[in-house]
């Protein structure tokens, strides 16, 4: 029961109490009365007269009925006074003349309602109770007015919303009904006109085709406007991200905040293992600033190897991964890429298009700034980018630039591709690719299981500086992204 009901109930109960008290307080004779009698005594009694000889002779002259007459005239008349006044009879202040026993009390008449005082008290309590409850109620109403207003606002707004939705649904239903009716009537009209020979199926088909074309054009216009808005939004987003990344990069790459070098012992052990693996070719490739391309068929483990090399560069050469460009960045490759903790990720076509434009601009900027710190960029499935219309031009420029600019901009580049031909890259860059990149080809046994066998197609030189081609080597079995990550995160690799 809420307070409102309690208060109203209390007022009701107290009103009943007050009313009962009021009824019991009524009285016609609220004060005690004394009934008295005034009975004067005559001296003309026969015995008195006979006592006196002189009087006795004149007995016939005396009125022997005097007492009866007096009693009749005075004693039998009822007389009432307040009981308190009778109490004072014969004392100072009494207004009744003192006549001794001539005036005597007949009886005390009690009050007609002995409960009048209790009735008065009860009605008084009832009224004061109602007043008290009303005081409480007024104070409560004043105090809770703001709360009530807020509750009413919330409830009313909720109700308004619900009814608005109901109206919308109703309106939509009527619209659908109207549309259906329109279609039916149009169909009937068409059938009638065909019957009358005003039109025929061919004519209607042409008309429909024209309407369809208009509709598609209107749709295309709407879509192009939407595309424009999307492009503008993406551009703004990239600008913002670029700015944020530039600021973050400054912080993260600054000597004090750079990726915390892991234990030098771990670094040394890894570098030692790389150097001692076969003739140290892997260490030479990882340390080399030339763009590294991993080529191979599906299932050859290119992505994993690329991530492992990127992690070694990150931890051993203090080169954080700045940008990751992959259409499947958060898809099937995410388990591997997430270990890199890249600053920027580009996944959708729009993001990738913008990312490769940003990368070329960044390289030029870094070359101008002559940075002292290194960073990395990884691009997966480059071949596909050429097939995307919106990315094609930017991708070709990106490929040409990466051959020269990444090294100068101190940005390690790792590209992943199925093959490395003119078709898959950019025509007329064969020589540049040959001299400016390291191409590492990977193999798989059955299209699923990667093999340790690798072929360094270009980029490896012998001790005399001669370029070697298609050199067969093997990768160490511990060269996996997860192993490298764990090596620097509490689970060192046992290289023995």
């Amino acid at each position: 029961m809420n307070r409102n009901k309690i208060e109203l109930l209390a007022i009701g109960v107290l009103a009943v109490v007050g009313k009962i008290g009021f009824c019991f307080s009524h009285s016609h004779r609220p004060y005690e009365l004394a009934q008295i009698q005034f009975c004067p005594q005559t001296a003309n009694t026969k015995s008195n007269i006979l006592k006196d000889k002189h009087k006795a002779n004149k007995l016939k002259y005396y009125d022997l009925q005097a007492q009866e007459k007096l009693d009749k005239n005075y004693c039998y008349t009822p007389r009432y006074v307040l009981a308190e006044e009778w109490d004072k009879y014969g004392r100072y202040g009494s207004i009744i003349p003192y006549m001794g026993s001539t005036i005597s009390l007949v009886s005390i008449i009690k009050r007609d309602n002995p409960y009048q005082i209790y009735g008065n008290i009860t009605s008084l309590l009832g009224l004061w109770g109602i007043s008290f409850v009303l005081i409480i109620r007024v104070n409560r109403l004043k105090k809770t007015d703001y709360q009530l207003a807020q509750e009413e606002k919330t409830t009313a707004y909720q109700l308004w919303q619900q009814n608005k939705y109901k109206r919308e649904i109703k309106s939509h239903t009527y619209q659908l009904h109207t549309d259906k009716m329109k279609d039916s009537l149009s169909q009937l009209d068409l059938e009638e006109r065909i019957e009358l020979g005003i039109t025929d199926d061919e004519n209607e088909a042409i008309k429909n085709q024209l309407i369809k074309e208009d509709y598609l054009k209107a749709r295309a216009v709407t879509h192009s406007q939407m595309d424009k808005e999307i492009a503008a939004n993406i551009l703004d987003k990239h600008k913002s991200e670029k700015e944020i990344a530039r600021l973050n990069n400054k912080k993260s790459i600054s000597p004090s905040n750079a990726t915390q070098p892991t234990s030098q012992q771990l670094i040394n052990s890894l570098i030692e293992a790389l150097k001692t693996h076969e003739d140290g070719w892997l260490y030479s490739i990882i340390k080399n600033a030339k763009p590294l391309w991993l080529i191979g068929s599906q299932g050859s483990g290119k992505t994993n190897t690329a991530a492992a090399i990127a992690l070694i560069r990150k931890y051993c050469f203090s080169a954080p991964i700045y940008q990751l460009i992959d259409r499947h960045a958060t898809g099937e490759n995410w388990e591997v890429w997430k270990l890199l903790d890249a600053v920027l990720k580009a996944e959708s076509e729009e993001e990738i298009g913008q990312a490769i434009i940003d990368a070329t601009d960044r390289w030029l900027q870094r070359i101008k700034e002559k940075p002292s710190t290194k960073q990395q960029i990884i691009i997966d499935e480059f071949t596909n980018l050429k097939k995307i219309y919106s990315c094609k031009e930017a991708a070709m420029k990106f490929f040409s630039m990466h051959l020269t600019d990444t090294r100068k901009a101190k940005e390690y580049f790792i590209g992943v591709n199925h093959y490395f031909t003119n078709e898959s890259t950019v025509e007329g860059t064969f020589e540049a690719r040959k001299s400016g990149t390291i191409q590492l080809k990977k193999f798989s046994a059955n299209g699923e299981t990667p093999l340790s066998r690798v072929q360094i197609v270009h980029g490896l030189v012998d001790e005399n500086g001669n370029e070697l081609e298609e050199v067969e080597r093997t990768l160490p079995n511990w060269l996996e992204a997860n192993n490298i990550y764990r090596h620097f995160n509490g689970n060192a690799i046992n290289f023995e």
């Binding site: 009365l33 008084l124 109620r137 007024v138």
Partner: protein, 185 residues
């Protein structure tokens, strides 16, 4: 730092804007607000009325109680007390009335004294109701006493203790003896 600067900052600080409500809802809420204030106002009037009533009944009861306990000795006390208690709300109702003489009489809240006078009239009525029964019985007592006195007078006039002729004789004897004594000198 100047403390007034802090106040300026506080005044300029922005609060979170409330959910914008549709026009019809705003109007409805305004109506509800007016209704709520009306309810509070009405309840307050009822409360004042009941307090006034309770005070009147209290005065009435006190007067009755005094007369029952103490009788006529407390008649004026009972009347005074009843009138005072019943007039409390009327006197409080004077709050807001201002009269000042400053280049002429300036009066503010003229309705207040009029209401107070009305309250006094009601208080006087209540007081009269409280004591009227007692006064009625007191009047009966006076009437009875007066009647007895009148009866006594009547009885003594009709039936004096001495014979009238004897009285005349005594008077005549006194007169003659007086004249005799004077003539003897």
């Amino acid at each position: 730092m100047n403390p007034y600067d802090i106040e300026d900052d506080l005044e300029q600080s922005e609060t979170t804007p409330d959910t914008p409500l549709p026009q019809e809802l705003t109007e409805h809420l305004e109506e509800r607000k007016k209704h709520r204030l009306q309810v509070i106002h009405t309840t307050e009037l009822v409360q004042k009325y009941f307090i006034s009533w309770s005070l009147s009944v209290t005065g009435f009861f006190l007067a009755r109680l005094l007369l029952l306990i103490n009788g006529g000795a407390s008649l004026w006390l009972a009347a005074g007390l009843c009138f005072s208690v019943c007039s409390i709300t009327s006197v409080i109702g004077l709050s807001g009335f201002r009269a000042n003489y400053n280049n002429g009489l300036e009066v503010e809240g003229m309705d207040k004294p009029l209401r107070t006078i009305g309250g006094f009239v009601v208080a006087a009525g209540t007081t009269w109701l409280a004591i009227k029964d007692y006064q009625y019985f007191q009047q009966i007592t006076y009437d009875t006493a007066h009647q007895i006195s009148a009866d006594i007078q009547t009885i003594y006039q009709k039936r004096p203790w001495l014979d009238p002729w004897l009285s005349i004789g005594i008077a005549a004897a006194i007169l003659i003896s007086s004249l005799f004594l004077i003539s003897k000198r």
